[in-house]
Symmetry: C2
Subunit: 180 residues, 2 copies
DNA sequence: ATTGGATCAATGTGATCACAAAATCCAGAA
DNA sequence: TTCTGGATTTTGTGATCACATTGATCCAAT
């Protein structure tokens, strides 16, 4: 990927392309080598564990804050997203699976009215992006994650401890698969 | 603050200055209005509470991870930093107080070997920067925070629950002062 | 055929320019 | 004195350029 190429792709000059790339680098979504060349960052196992821990810390908190504001329409919408996830899993559409999976989380967290936490979480997602992609590719999921159903159930029941636990499991589950 | 002015200050052109500013904006340290003008972001009480919550979530975790690696030299160094904090407090040097205060935390967290968490925490600090400045200015501290002494004591004793509690208190203490 | 270096193309960085939009300023009138 | 409206300056954005550095390619010698 070259700056000039990116610029030409989007019909702009080098300057905006450079700025966008630098922002991605600043957020950790891309890493730039010593010579300024960009590449997808290689995540060590330690860093992965760290990022998963951050998710495990923040996302249950976001869910807790969303819980009192979660009305029925939201829960139904989450269930619909789960259906989409199942669909992607059936079609072996990895990138769709990941995208709808994150959409599930984001939809829930948007209700938390905590933009800073959400932004932080999305930064972590961005950094996990390439690795998640590689991970789910060799996983061959075939159904919606069990924890997502637990999350919806806990929301319906207003069960905060159960919600936090389900989220923690859902978030750290991916790591366990990679630790093999 | 103008881009051209910043560039001239550092002896560079507009381009690097612009890039630096945009990076600060991306990290939340500055906010840019609709017309691209930069300004120090106005933190609402809700956002402040949120940022404090993030600190309360991540920083005890960082301290926990640093605890098993904390040798005596580190603890002595933390105590020395506490002395510096007391010095700044005595001289009513607000910005020095804040800086050494954060240096205390960063010194501890560096031992955690968790760069992603540390980066995340520093992002939060960056966002809190202007508000902390205003807060401590009208506070007129005169001595080192009690919680810092508790932190050092917990480190010496290897008391993880105490360490987490002390950190949580130290981090959320500032918020309480502002909620007045 | 392989390897070594030398040349060359390509890319990122920083500077400068043109332009549009926004802010400031100044004059004039109520 | 204060408000208003236009003119001027300022400022951010995007484009283009010059340059240094890096990676690649190619040719020659073993």
């Amino acid at each position: 990927m070259t700056l000039r190429g990116i610029g030409k792709t989007f019909g702009v000059s080098m300057t905006p392309a450079r700025e966008a790339v630098r922002r991605l680098v600043a957020d950790g979504g891309l890493s730039l080598s010593s010579s300024g060349r960009v590449s997808t960052p290689e995540l060590s196992n330690e860093r992965l564990e760290e990022l998963a821990s951050i998710r495990a810390l923040i996302e249950p908190e976001l869910a807790s804050r969303a819980l009192p504001r979660a009305h029925l329409a939201l829960i139904d919408r989450l269930q619909a997203i789960n259906a989409s996830i199942a669909e992607c899993a059936a079609k072996h559409d990895d990138v769709g699976y990941i995208r709808t999976n994150l959409e599930f989380h984001r939809t829930l967290y948007l209700r938390a009215q905590a933009p800073a936490m959400l932004a932080m979480t999305e930064t972590v997602w961005l950094q996990l992006g390439p690795t998640m992609r590689a991970m789910y590719a060799r996983l061959n999921r075939t159904e919606v994650p069990h924890n997502h159903r637990l999350i919806v159930a806990a929301l319906r029941a207003g069960d905060e401890p159960g919600l936090r636990l389900a989220l923690r499991s859902d978030v750290t589950q991916g790591l366990r698969l990679l630790a093999v």
